[in-house]
Amino acid sequence: MSVPLSYSHENTTRQDRGRVLVVDDESTSLLILRGLLLKEGFSPVTANNGARAIELFEQESPSMVFVDVIMPGMSGLEVARHIKKLAGKRFVPTIFLTSITDEHTLADCIEAGGDDFLTKPVSPILLRAKITAAERITRLYETAQRQHHQLLFEQQLARQVYAKTLQDNTIQPGEVFILQRPASVFSGDIILVDKSPSGALHVLMGDFTGHGLAAAIGALPAAEIFRSMTSKGYSPPEILSEINRKLHGFLPTGMFLAVVFVCLNQGGQAFTVCNCGLPEVVVLDGQTGAIKRRLPSHSLPLGISGKHSAYPMKLVEVSHNDHIIIATDGFIEAQNDKGDLLGEQRYLDILQNGKPNSVFERLIAGLDAFIEDTSLEDDVTLAVIPCLRLASEDNSPDPVLPALSDSDNPALLIDTEQADWHWETTIKSPLLKSMDLTPVLLRNITDFLGAHDQKHALFTVISELLNNAIDHGVLELDSRIKDNPEGFIEYFQERSLRLANLSDGYVHVRFYGKMESGHGWLQIRIEDSGRGFDHVHWEPPKTRHHLYGMRGLCLVRGFCKHLEFEGCGNIAKAIYTW
């Protein structure tokens, strides 16, 4: 004889474990189960048919349901299905009641959404065990739901921060056209656009391995480096090198960033590009719309190699209205509902199939027409950069430059004895070959003197002075080559050649500066190892010409209070005040 479990009456009201629903068409089963559940501390509600059961479920929202499998009218299985649907996101354990001879329907029970079963006559011990198990699973489910919501919330938050960090606000509409379609909440692609102090447009498009948050996590440091270095005037290879170093340091093995970096000069005459693992960069002819140039990947993606990697830039000359198109592989690999890929051929066809000015709209329309309602498997990112000449070569009205009076006495402007800061450096030919000096010198000035709001003007001044010293002084280049459009490439190729072959030569830079409460002055003296020029009898041109500096040093004259030459013309001295 089994020993029945006994309860004292007090225990039954110890806790309210919630409402449960019991459904059985047979009275004794209903009463027994109701009684047992009361003793367990639940508040049972009962129904003897399926329709009433569903009604009660909607009214009472029980946390658990017991339902007899075999019933007249709606079967227990149907009731269970309805209930699961009504419960929606809520987990309501549903336990079937069955007599032992109905074993063959047990598989159907679980299929219908049942979570467990109890055989009749009910054993109080088993009932208790199954209730405990059901409550455990409910708690597990609720924990999972909570964590899921928390995760979603955090993702949304991160996405806002991410979007804000990556947002750019220095680019005018029409300078770059960008399409970004992430496959999920976070895109594993990035597109960064900014202007260097020289006015060059920097565009960096990247594709992290994979997608989603794990892929996007590298985007923040990459964007930070890009923004910071671009604004300081660093060159694309230096920026790529720094991003590579950073990503290699913390990205897990197997993750990397494929990028394209395009740098379009301010005049819109040429751009340099480095393609590290993205699809071909395409240039469309501004007149005919035909593909003028295709630039496939020629460097390793970033984050792979820790060794100092070089990022050689290809130089491409462009004419007015030429268009540069960059895309990650999500575009070409977009699929329609049949599983076909958009493919390279279709991509090239879309590019050439019309005027270059409408290529952006064509690409979007082409993508939408192909994929229709199919959702994207991979992030799609696309950029179109129109190459617009700022003004036609010789006819633009030039800004009037302040005339430098020869009677300006530098001694009246500044006194180097009063300088708070004196700094000099000599850079010889090996370093001249590998370094871009302007950002480094500018950094020193702003580090020591502050004057951060003078950064852009100072960048221009130092850049032009250095250009003068290196290009014309040390390398003895004649900038008249650049006067005609075709000469642009010729000039830069000649420059690269002479720089590579440079065996000796130097630039000596000296600064004196003083700064107090928002005002200050800076004297810049740059001496080069070149032969100089006849500065005594030289007439500086009155108007601005190319921005790449000439002996005229027009921008220096535009920004500085004083400019003079010493020695044989190989020493330039400028005074900048603010």
């Binding site: 004889m1 089994s2 029945p4 479990l5 006994s6 309860y7 068409d25 047979e26 009275s27 004794t28 089963s29 009463l31 027994i32 009684g35 047992l36 003793k39 075999i70 007249p72 007599s99 001879t101 009749k120 006559p121 009910v122 054993s123 109080p124």
Partner: protein, 119 residues
Amino acid sequence: MNETHSLLHVFDARILMEQTLDDTELFTEVMNAFLADLPIHLDHITTGMASGEQTLAYRAAHSLKGAAANVGAGELAQLSAQLEHLLKDDITTAETQALGVQIGHAMDRLREQLDTLGL
């Protein structure tokens, strides 16, 4: 021993006691409901079989089986199970008819036993 065994087969109070956790109030409530349903089940069985309403008779046999098992009326439960099994396969034969009669007798025996026990 045989008699005890067969008496227990007719009605074994321990089975319902276990399920009601010695709660005599609940025990009584369940027994009352059971006794109230008995004539209804029997009526559905006999009427159902007589008028060819197979489902009615089948359902009643199924319910009676469950109820009888719940309250510890073993003999009644066993007979009802047999009838349920036969009726499922859509057989109304002399066999099923005979079972119907046996069930009626078993019910009488049960009521007698319950009276003796004062339930």
